[in-house]
């Protein structure tokens, strides 16, 4: 870099740098680690790309600052907020200027075909809007779809300036009015009418194509709402309200359906990495005892001097794992992800046995043996396992007692027992003596609790009573914590 070089990107202003620093701050708030060098790289990168090219701008920021694909979605949201298109048309004016713009656009788009008869688009009825949307979706006309999404937001979302309502509320209102499900059905009917002799496979593919288009529409509406919110309230306020945790930080107990999907997607690469890491640790970890024969053989190349001692590979014993999991509603997701992770690294253990309970307890090891597909096993657990004894409210005491009765003999010095649950016992008897007995016989007993530590032993939680008998009680609220625990286990 020469001295004459301006350190600012070409054509930039202080405004851009300010947005950029706000942007970086928000990325860090959202949990993406952006180092100082990366920040500088980003500014440096902006010198080389045309700033008016929004895509290039976005990709340069992503390439320099986001180094983990799981963080991409978060990045995209923050980017949309901080560098969204701004302009008159997004302002939430009382006069509804946005309306004119969007509908002007629609008029120009359809103008050529049927402009005269319709009159001004301002008087467009909901039916007409739906009809136009239907046609745009059938043809896959993206420009039209975008314009209609805007019109729909103006019409249905009922956004008012200054109202501190989150974007989801507006999204919900808009989508409820558009009723996209029946839109899909209508599209499929049209399709069937058009191609009578379509094969089933073909029909399925068409349906998927339409679903993808509807998804695009939904995303467009969401983006539109976000843009208007930003124009109304400023980037910082909106960024805060749309901030979502990274997949590895999602709380198991309060995950929304969408977040659960994200979790399920995130856990596969995570467990794969974990398995690789543990396998390597096993191979390269401690050295075993001296391998005399091997050392002598290698000493030949040093003229008989044993200069390079060789060691046997260590064969550390593999523990046997027993997972005992509460699968009642509140902690079901937690049990699922823990089981999935334990089974993913089952090669690190000599044997994995799993038990699930609510107030009754049942062994489910066979479900996992029968299939390689974890979701299927979980599904069978939820439908087939016999876990209800009286009323289907968690009763840890009875479940542990029943466990000790039926399988207590199988616990031995090689067994590591994992207990999963929030220990909210609905004020039943704790029967903590079972854990005491267990701890005497087993190699280790660990308790994993998906609740934050500050909630432990409040209300009907009795994790403290159990924890005294365990070798450790851990807070496992998200994938990060769970991964850390499972790693030390292997």
């Amino acid at each position: 870099m020469t001295a004459t070089d301006p350190h600012l990107p070409r054509g930039s202003s202080a405004g851009l740098l300010e947005s950029l620093s706000g942007f970086v701050k928000e990325l860090r708030n959202a949990g993406i680690p952006v180092s100082l060098t990366e920040n500088l790289d980003a500014v440096e990168a902006l010198r080389h790309i045309p700033l008016e090219d929004r895509d290039a701008f976005k990709y340069s920021l992503a390439a320099t600052m986001v180094k983990n694909n799981a963080h991409w979605k978060t990045f995209e949201t923050v980017f949309e907020v901080y560098f969204s298109l701004r302009g008159r048309e997004y302002r939430l004016g009382g006069e509804g200027e946005g309306d004119f713009d969007a509908e002007d656009m629609i008029n120009t788009l359809i103008g050529a075909r049927e402009g005269e008869g319709q009159g001004s688009a301002e008087g467009m009825t909901p039916e007409q809007l739906a009809e136009m949307l239907f046609r745009a979706l059938m043809d896959g006309n993206d420009a039209m779809m975008r314009a209609l999404a805007r019109a729909a937001v103006t019409r249905y979302a009922g956004m008012e300036p200054g109202r501190p309502v989150g974007g989801t509320y507006y999204l919900y209102r808009t989508l409820r009015n558009l009723d996209l499900d029946s839109m899909l059905e209508r599209m499929m009917q049209q399709e069937r009418r058009r191609n009578e002799d379509e094969t089933d496979l073909e029909e399925r593919l068409v349906r998927e194509e339409y679903e993808a288009r509807l998804d695009a529409l939904r995303r467009e509406i969401e983006a539109e709402i976000r843009r208007r919110l930003v124009a109304d309230r400023g980037a910082e306020a909106v960024a805060k309200s749309v901030r979502k945790p990274l997949p590895e930080d999602i709380d198991f107990m309060h995950a929304s359906r969408e977040e659960l999907v994200a979790l399920r997607r995130a856990i596969a690469p995570l467990t794969r990495k974990l398995a690789v890491r543990l396998a390597r640790k096993r191979r390269h970890g401690r050295k075993g005892p001296l391998d005399f024969r091997n050392t002598v053989r290698h000493s030949l190349s040093y003229g008989g001097v044993p200069a390079d001692p060789k060691f046997r590979y260590p064969r550390p014993s593999k523990p046997e794992i027993m997972v005992i999991a509460d699968i009642s509603g509140s902690v079901a997701a937690f049990a699922r992800f823990t089981l999935q992770m334990v089974y993913a690294i089952s090669s690190q253990f000599s044997r994995v046995r799993s038990f699930v309970f609510i107030d009754g307890i049942d062994e489910v090891t066979d479900y996992f043996k029968a299939t390689e597909d974890i979701s299927e096993a979980i599904h069978r657990i939820n439908t087939e396992a016999d876990v209800i004894w009286v009323d289907g409210h968690s009763d840890y005491g009875h479940a542990f007692e029943a466990f000790w009765d039926r399988w207590g003999r199988d616990v031995n010095t090689k067994t590591t027992v994992l207990l999963l649950g929030d220990a909210r016992n609905n004020y039943h008897a704790a029967q903590a003596w079972v854990l005491g007995e267990m701890a005497k016989k087993a190699r280790h007993v660990y308790w994993l609790n998906p609740e934050p530590r500050s909630y432990w032993d409040t209300g009907d939680s009795i994790v403290g009573q159990y924890a005294t008998h365990c070798d450790g009680a851990y807070e496992c609220r998200n994938l990060k914590q769970l991964e850390r625990f499972v790693e030390q286990l292997g």
Partner: protein
């Protein structure tokens, strides 16, 4: 430093055009990052599922720029002597022995020999050093960098940030031209922060449906438009299932080629099920997809 290097590309769009001319269909993200890497003189860390064209990207960029491709395949146990340089031990021995003979007739002393045997003629260059020392433009491909141990990663750091290699006996070898460096990773483990910080990050995912269709059309000559369309749509459908290993782009291409060889013009559920083993590599996946495809046949209507 970066400004001094002659630019090989004008704009992201020209990178995209160029790559297209060597039959690599890049999207905006890929082209943008390649452009930026060349401008900033920074390595690119390419990550993504197997078979989405990570290695091919490096090859195509090399072909496009007319640069020599130097490839370092990483594996567990890769070390300095395989990646950077090694002293030619046998040649050094010979040199010393030759010296002894010469000495008995009254020649140079030990100091001269020592200086001599640790000099360039006794150096065996390995890929990384070779890329640094090359006079002509090169593209350095460090393939599957996630396979080496975390400690070995440190070997790469000096090269990636400063484009130089320090050899204790010789000094520092700096690059005369800045090579374009691609590192690929299948993400089997987390790479170290230090490595990530030095690179631009590029994630190559499965392409969207239009781009994949275009890829099929360019890479499988003789395929009809309608078949290509069907192929990519079925693949998208299969990818949406929860599978152990989703079909990659290269598997899509294999499948398209197979269908073409079999003389199939339009895929129905049966043909798809019969040829699934080309797309999917796990028995459980094949069963799942087959079940799913035939369920459509039975289910609707």
């Amino acid at each position: 430093m970066t400004d001094a290097a002659p630019s090989r590309f004008e704009s992201p769009a020209s990178v995209r055009e160029g790559l297209r001319s060597v039959a690599y269909l890049a999207d905006e993200g890929i082209a943008g990052v390649v452009f930026l890497a060349e401008r900033l003189g920074k390595p690119i860390l390419v990550e993504g599922p197997a078979g989405t064209g990570k290695t091919q990207l490096a090859k195509s960029v090399a072909e496009l720029t007319g640069a020599r491709l130097i490839r370092l395949q990483c594996y567990e146990g890769l070390d300095e002597s395989k990646a950077l340089y090694e002293w030619n031990y046998k040649k050094q021995l010979l040199r010393i022995q030759a010296q002894r003979i010469a000495e008995s007739e009254g020649g140079e002393g030990w100091d001269d020999i020592e200086e001599d045997i640790f000099s360039e003629p006794f150096l065996l260059t390995r890929p990384l050093l070779e890329a640094i020392r090359a006079d002509e433009p090169v593209v350095l491909l460090i393939d599957e960098v996630d396979r080496v141990e975390v400690e070995t990663e440190a070997l790469l750091l000096e090269i990636l940030s400063d484009y130089q290699v320090s050899i204790p006996e010789l000094g520092t070898v700096s690059a005369t031209q800045i090579p374009l460096v691609f590192l690929t990773s299948n993400n089997t483990r987390e790479l170290s922060e230090a490595l990530k910080r030095r690179c631009l990050f590029l994630h190559i995912d499965y392409p969207d449906i239009d781009r994949e269709k275009e890829i099929v059309l360019t890479r499988v000559p003789g395929i009809s438009e309608s078949l290509a369309d069907q192929v990519v749509r079925i693949v998208r459908s299969i990818r949406s299932l929860e599978l152990k290993k989703a079909p990659s782009v290269s598997e899509t291409l294999d499948w398209a080629r197979t269908l073409l060889l079999l003389g199939i013009e339009s895929v129905d559920a049966e043909t798809a099920t019969e040829t699934l083993h080309i797309l999917l590599k796990y028995q459980s996946d094949i069963e799942k997809a087959a079940k799913d495809l035939s369920a459509t046949t039975a289910g609707s209507r």
